[in-house]
């Protein structure tokens, strides 16, 4: 049973937002809403600041509060790789999941359901990478099975320093950032 996750090399990322544009085009995300986005985190003073650019999205957590809190079962863990998905028909738009997500990854789609990154499950099931990963001009994004020690993502994590966002939330995020 795969545990799908994403590894993003911040040393290579230039924050170009191609991942954002590709997601919007691939998934028809309505204007004004985003399933992924860029964050600039800056420490220190000029002329020696430290900058980390990050492509962020739903972390497809191991312990997803958005699934636990969903009153209808619409927000669910997909049997395929543990991807967190929303059943549009079953969702009643109560927004509990939106409030529960520590990463602010969800929004209410204008059509009335909670929406967010799907890890492009429709592509992944066909053996393709998610749209954001496949488009990245710097090739700084990697996708695969975190439980398979032979996968590219596992090897990268074994060889490089990395961090996740808000580890204190305790949700087991599966989008992991490599640092220089």
């Amino acid at each position: 049973m795969a545990r799908l996750g994403m590894v993003i090399d911040t040393a290579k990322c230039v924050g170009c937002s191609d991942c954002v544009v590709a997601c919007k085009a691939e998934n028809g995300v309505p204007a004004g809403f985003f399933r992924d986005w860029l964050t600039e985190s800056l420490r220190g003073r000029f002329p020696t600041p430290h900058l980390e650019l990050r492509s962020e999205r739903c972390n497809h957590c191991d312990d997803p509060p958005c699934v636990t809190c969903c009153p209808t079962g619409a927000s669910h863990v997909h049997p395929w790789g543990g991807v967190i998905l929303v059943d549009h028909d079953a969702c009643v738009g109560c927004k509990a999941c939106i409030a529960s997500c520590p990463y602010n990854a969800r929004f209410l789609h204008p059509e009335g359901y909670a929406d967010k990154c799907t890890f492009c499950i429709h592509r992944v099931e066909k053996g393709q990478d998610p749209a954001c990963v496949s488009v990245c001009p710097t090739r700084c994004m990697y996708f695969g099975d975190l439980d398979d020690p032979e996968s590219e993502v596992s090897k990268l994590l074994a060889s490089r320093r990395s961090h996740v966002l808000l580890p204190e939330a305790g949700t087991g995020p599966r989008v992991i950032y490599l640092t220089a």
Partner: protein
């Protein structure tokens, strides 16, 4: 509520719901009864290869049509430029097709120029009007009084039309407003220029020096992909920029240079390379002349001399020079692209070229490779007519080293009538109000014209001043000229329509041909349609249009690209060698009494100081937009709807400003900007401010982009002209920050 407590709170809520029997059983956490969201790729899919036109890089792409509607566009894996991945602008290119504000039908001006009021007319009427005006101009002033300013490959057929009509006055802002000075500086040194796409071997560089060149924000696809590769390969990146750019954040050395002093740093680097013998002596002995003269000339320009000018310590200058020396010849001092900064730009670029020459990087792996092109003859047209008058842009060779047409020279001729008047202007895919400095001069020039015809996709500011607007199909809806690329892997690429134009827009080739027929130039348009034209060209090279329609691209054999592999080491300079001391500049200086700026090796002039209370205005690019052309694209504007004013955080504190505050800028000539949002940041020096070019639109048809952010162009009223080649330097403007006025 912080994230943790919010989660705990909701955890309890879910438990409560479960206890009440409202939540589904969560044991095993796999709720097989729930369905995933509908797959966006359900439907009838069709893929069509083409190439991108959101910028001039021309990446090979594959568009997907879903149930007859344009869905998405991705990189063509066979394309050596994009290697299967487009940049964000290319990925968002589909937005241009859907932009509800795009020009839809031909328009004739209804009232006074610039009022932006129109009568919708038929193509026949719009083309008839344009042709009649062109005929009248030819009759009254001669055909040379008509000019075309275009951008990109799409201008090919209109250029052909203009040559057939009899004018030599064809320009693009890419010369005098962009890379012209760089190309002149490199030509004087190597006899050739870095080209477009640049012949930079970034992927193999072991030391990469970026001077003001903000790769990663400036999104020329191949360059950025190779930049990421270089980082992965632990290339030693040195970034020189008053702003802590994205590239600076990847650098091992970041040099926060005082604006306008780059040439002082370059001279000091040359000094150290020579004094410490860090240059490639063997390469220079074989390929270069002028070393002794250069060495004597740069002797006084020590790092200690450069420090008070640049603000970069002598130790750092030496250390970085040594890094460059150690990595040679795989040290690439990047030539940059948008090089119009301070008015001595051709000479600054020459210093960059000299530095590369000393490091032996021209023609070498990790430096500048030797590009190749496939052999495909042009269409067999009859010879063009030759008028009596030469080009209008550079009278008496005032700018002796300009090898291309100076767009601002055409503007001057329209303004002054000298050396002869320009009375008709057609623009293609370039928004001159933004592309040329000093908007007032551009508008004044427009007012002198008998005809301003604009061929465009979006209702730009320049279109607003037109007499006739000819709406073009986007690149996703048309055939175009072939791209026969000069690159490390030579190839031929086809642009072909993916979807139909939604309204009455027409492709450039059709517009050119229809005008040609109305002007009696039938013999120059023997092909009835573009497919016949393309087929004719391709057949001459032994290729077929049908095959190219399927693959989108034909990649040719890769010839040797480095000197060491056998690529020819040829230098088209007067001496046939790399000229460290320029014989062409020496000759010009001797013959003209040593005019300032023409020295055989670059001379540094300190920049003028900031007026009190003012910041130097710097501009640059964002990865999601091209010039002022893409702000109306719904996908791209969603990601970046407006630009911001980068202001040093300490300065912001001093002025009581915070990120998010709205301010206006007033320049030295009292021009006031549109309101712009402050971005107080530790990523810029305190003596300058920065904004991304292309925002602050005022054309009322661009509803999505209207008054979003501010326009750097509008504040660039002052420009300094490069004496060598007529480039217009833009970083000459100073602004004060003011509160947004209440009116």
């Amino acid at each position: 509520m912080n994230a943790l407590s919010r989660r705990r709170f909701l955890g309890i809520s879910a438990a409560t719901l479960a206890a009440a029997g409202l939540a589904p059983a969560l044991t095993g956490r796999r709720t097989a009864q729930a369905s995933p969201p509908p797959a966006p790729d359900a439907g009838k899919l069709e893929t069509i290869p083409t190439f991108c036109d959101v910028c001039f890089w021309k990446c090979g792409a594959i568009a997907t049509v879903r149930d007859g509607q344009l869905w998405k566009i991705e990189g063509n894996p066979a394309d050596p430029l994009c290697r299967g991945r487009l940049c964000p602008r290319g990925t968002g290119g589909v937005g241009a097709h859907f932009d509800e504000d795009r020009l839809q039908r031909p328009l004739l001006r209804a009232n006074v120029r610039g009022e932006d009021t129109w009568n919708v007319v038929s193509w026949d009427e719009a083309l008839g009007y344009t042709a009649e005006k062109m005929k009248a101009i030819a009759q009254k002033y001669g055909p040379e009084s008509m000019a075309l300013i275009s951008h990109g490959l799409g201008g090919t057929f209109l250029k052909h039309l203009m040559k057939a009509y009899g004018t030599p006055n064809l320009a693009a802002p890419s010369f005098a407003q962009c890379r012209g000075p760089r190309d002149v500086g490199f030509r004087l040194t190597f006899g050739d220029d870095p080209g477009s796409p640049e012949r930079t071997d970034i992927a193999n560089a072991r030391c990469l020096v970026l001077i003001g060149s903000h790769l990663g924000e400036n999104m020329h696809n191949t360059q950025v992909q190779e930049f990421a590769e270089a980082i992965e390969n632990d290339c030693h990146v040195i970034v020189v920029d008053p702003r802590f750019s994205t590239a600076a954040s990847k650098a091992k050395h970041y040099l926060p240079i005082r604006p306008g002093t780059d040439l002082a740093l370059l001279l000091a680097w040359i000094n150290v390379l020579i004094t410490e013998k860090l240059y490639d002596a063997e390469y220079l002995a074989q390929h270069a002349v002028g070393f002794e003269q250069l060495a004597a000339y740069v002797a006084p320009f020590t790092p200690e001399w450069a420090y008070p000018e640049t603000g970069i310590s002598a130790a750092v200058i030496r250390e970085t020079a040594r890094v460059m020396g150690r990595a040679k010849p795989a040290t690439l001092v990047h030539p940059g692209r948008h090089a119009v900064w301070y008015g001595d730009d051709a000479q600054r670029s020459r210093a960059v070229a000299i530095l590369n020459a000393l490091l032996g990087s021209w023609g070498r792996k990790g430096g500048f490779y030797v590009p190749a092109q496939m052999d495909l003859p042009g269409y067999p047209y009859p010879p063009y007519p030759h008028g009596e008058r030469g080009k209008v842009d550079n009278p008496d060779k005032k700018y002796p080293f300009a090898h291309d047409t100076i767009s601002t020279g055409i503007r001057s001729a329209a303004l002054t009538g000298k050396p002869y008047p320009i009375k008709g202007l057609m623009t293609y895919a370039t928004n001159l109000i933004y592309a040329l400095p000093n908007e007032a001069e551009t508008i004044e020039a427009f007012k002198q014209l008998d005809l301003l015809a604009v061929v465009e996709v979006a209702p730009s500011e320049t279109a607003g001043w037109a007499d006739v607007v000819l709406p073009e199909s986007t690149y996703l809806e048309r055939y175009d000229e072939l791209n026969v690329e000069l690159f490390r892997d030579p190839f031929i690429a086809l642009r072909q329509p993916v979807v139909a134009s939604p309204q009455e827009q027409k492709p450039n080739w059709w517009i050119a041909r229809e005008l040609g027929l109305r002007l009696g130039l039938e013999k120059f348009f023997p092909w009835p349609d573009i497919e016949t034209y393309l087929q004719t060209r391709l057949e001459k090279g032994g290729y077929s249009l049908e095959a190219l329609k399927k693959s989108g691209i034909i990649v040719g054999p890769k010839p040797p690209i480095y000197f060491e592999e056998g690529a020819p080491a040829e230098f088209n300079t007067p001496s046939g060698k790399i000229e460290l001391w320029s014989s062409a500049l020496q000759k010009y200086s001797d013959e003209h009494g040593n005019p300032a700026g023409f020295e055989p090796a670059p001379r540094y002039t300190p920049p003028e100081p900031n007026p009190p209370g003012s910041y130097r205005l710097l501009c640059g690019r964002a990865p999601t937009h091209t010039f002022s052309r893409t702000q109306s694209n719904p996908l791209l504007s969603d990601v970046m709807p407006e630009n911001a004013l980068w202001l040093n955080a300490g300065e912001a504190r001093r002025l009581g400003l915070n990120t998010g505050d709205r301010v206006c800028l007033r320049n030295q000539d009292d021009v006031l900007s549109e309101p712009i949002t402050v971005r107080a940041t530790e990523r810029i020096r305190p003596d300058c401010v920065f904004m991304v070019h292309g925002f602050g639109h005022q054309a009322k048809g661009l509803r999505r982009a209207l008054r979003k952010g501010a326009s750097d162009s509008r504040l660039q009223t002052r420009y300094k002209t490069d004496p060598l080649m007529g480039g217009t330097a833009l970083n000459m403007n100073f602004v004060r920050i003011e509160p947004v006025s209440s009116i």
